[in-house]
């Protein structure tokens, strides 16, 4: 397993794509702090000044960075990386010699998943660190001193990051599973992005109904994700976000219910990818 992991890291670090995606994440963090936060606060419209401040000023910037980071990190970094890592092995035909050399299918897929998890975790934490560094800089440039009621502890920080990370998991696994099933980069990425757009529409439409229709929103990860992301808000205060979602705090499931739903959905996707991969024929595909 160690050898498999080392091989996987060698393959990944020699590709240009993870670096491009990482740079995009850094650019995103800079955009949130300076364009969406600092510029909005510094701008002429006093209506948005307070939310602008909470977007760039540390520690209010942490949930703001995690909100946008969760959304775009899921869409761009994790989904594209997951899809590409799986599908290229089929397109290049390299999956066949790997499996015919005595590597079990479960070890192979598990190694892919572990590598993706480790690389995504490190890259997204670095991007968050970069965003926080910019936030500290912007806070000092603006010469503001935001206070958090009850203080902001390391425990709060870890909890916020954990919630955001959990919210990335179902989308990362959706991309992973779609690619394992389709063996296609295009279908994996388009499928994940398409799902995110469609679920946003579906959740909005179902929210207009009542009873069972409203409850059925729990089938979509975004409804539970919204609950966890909202829980990250410091003192329940809003900030500017680039995430394409509208969170109505009064209409979200409870945090524990949301956590259980996300874990269950992720487990389902994980099981589906393994069941398909362990049983299917391994051939070369193009896509």
């Amino acid at each position: 397993m160690t050898g498999l992991l080392r091989a996987e890291f060698l393959k990944m670090r020699k590709r240009w794509m993870p670096y491009v995606l990482f740079i995009l994440m850094l650019a995103g963090a800079a955009f949130i702090i300076w364009a969406m936060g600092y510029s909005t606060w510094h701008g002429d419209d006093p209506e948005f000044a307070a939310s602008g401040l909470r977007t760039f000023a540390y520690p209010y910037s942490v949930p703001a960075l995690l909100d946008s980071g969760q959304f775009w990190g899921s869409v761009f970094f994790v989904s594209i990386l997951a899809t590409s890592t799986i599908a290229t092995e089929h397109n290049w035909g390299t999956i066949r010699p790997a499996l015919s050399g005595g590597v079990s299918r479960s070890s192979y897929l598990l190694t892919k998943l572990l590598t993706l998890t480790l690389v995504s975790t490190v890259a997204l934490l670095l991007a968050l660190g970069f965003g926080i560094a910019l936030s500290l800089w912007a806070t000092s440039v603006a010469d503001v001193h935001p206070r958090v009621p009850g203080g902001f502890t390391a425990g709060d920080f870890v909890l916020m990051v954990s919630r955001a990370a959990l919210c990335i998991v179902p989308y990362g696994l959706l991309a992973f599973t779609l690619t394992v099933i389709s063996r296609s980069t295009a279908l994996g990425i388009a499928g994940t992005m398409g799902f995110m757009v469609l679920e946003a529409i579906a959740v909005a439409l179902l929210g207009t109904g009542g009873g069972l229709l409203q409850d059925s929103r729990l089938l979509f990860p975004s409804h539970s994700v919204g609950s966890l992301i909202a829980e990250n808000r410091i003192a329940g205060l809003e900030y500017e976000t680039s995430a394409l979602r509208d969170i109505d705090i009064s209409d979200q499931p409870g945090v524990w219910a949301a956590t259980v739903v996300i874990v269950a959905q992720s487990a389902f996707l994980l099981a589906a990818s393994f069941i398909v991969f362990l049983r299917r024929d391994v051939t070369v595909s193009h896509g």
Binding site: A7, R15, A98, S100, G102
Partner: protein
């Protein structure tokens, strides 16, 4: 020597000698049967040619042998182990070169082998050894995307040999290569055979198999037509080929000889179906009737003749 395609019960000694066995191996895709009840036995040290026209089921069989495809029925044994029970154990003793010569295009040749070495737990020193064996040392640092098909094929062979496997399975290893490349790969396969490796190589090129292999199995439409020694196969249909002063009379005379199984015209020559040792008797019989030979030689059936005869009959 030659075996019919029916299953047979091997003795214990034979069994331990068999590196690869398929028993009743069948694969269906809907209504199409790609491989039909295939019984194969490849013994230690053989260079075993797996022959068949395109679409005959060779790649499907290899896919099942290597655990990439699931058999509809039947099973594969590698080194005496049923791969239904344990696939990864026996596969660690197998090196494979699959059709298409896959490689990571963004990695150099050396890095491609390093990936394989890491997975297999092979020391890095072995990488240079293999690069040198397949003649890729000079281009080892170049990205695989810049390699020609022949170079990728050699890289795939190096990867297959990295673990020093007991059995090497190759699917159409010379596909897409130029004549020089084909010759190179054939030489490499013969060298591997000389090193005592068991080689299972599929091809649709009969001449190639005849030159490389000592044993052969012929597949058509998923069915095994025969398997056996190449020497025995090509030696089966021996004939004498001759030019004579009077064709028509010679035909009459030769048809009357009891040791001649048949005579036919082949352009300006006559082809006489008989053992090569009967050449002197044939010559004497014709001379007695004042028919004289201007040319006489032994003609042996090539693998191509045997193959065409079998596949046409089938």
């Amino acid at each position: 020597m030659l075996k019919t395609p029916t299953a047979e019960q091997p003795t214990t000694r034979e069994q331990s000698d068999v590196v690869l066995r398929t028993v009743g191996l069948t694969r269906r895709y809907g209504k199409i049967t790609a491989v039909n009840n295939l019984d194969l036995a490849v013994r230690r040290g053989q260079i075993f040619g797996f022959l068949g026209p395109n679409g005959s089921g060779k790649t499907t069989t290899i896919g099942m042998v290597l655990g990439l495809l699931r058999p509809t029925s039947g099973y594969v044994e590698l080194f005496g182990v049923d791969t239904h029970r344990d696939l990864t154990g026996p596969l660690k003793r197998v090196g494979s070169v699959l059709e298409g010569a896959s490689a990571y295009p963004h990695l150099s040749g050396r890095e491609n082998l390093r990936v394989c070495a890491m997975i297999a737990g092979v020391p890095d020193a072995r990488i240079d050894e293999m690069l040198s064996l397949v003649g890729l040392s000079e281009r080892a640092g170049s990205k695989a995307r810049t390699y020609s098909l022949g170079m990728r094929q050699r890289l795939a062979i190096a990867a297959a040999l990295l673990t020093n496997p007991d059995l090497v399975v190759m699917d159409e290893p010379t596909n897409g290569l130029d004549p020089a490349g084909m010759r190179e790969i054939r030489g490499l396969i013969r060298d591997l055979g000389a090193m005592g490796k068991t080689i299972f190589v599929s091809s649709h090129l009969l001449g190639e198999v005849e030159q490389m292999c000592d044993h052969v199995a012929i597949l058509k439409s998923g069915r095994l037509l025969m398997q056996g020694e190449v020497k025995a196969l090509v030696g089966q249909g021996t004939a004498l080929e001759m030019q004579v002063t009077d064709m028509n009379r010679a035909l009459e005379v030769l048809a009357g000889l009891d040791f001649v199984k048949g005579v036919k015209r082949d352009g300006v020559r006559l082809v006489v179906e008989t053992a090569s040792e009967r050449a002197a008797d044939v010559s004497r019989a014709l001379a007695e009737k004042e028919i004289y030979l201007s040319e006489l030689r032994t003609r042996q059936d090539s693998l191509e003749d045997v193959f065409l005869e079998m596949t046409e009959d089938a």
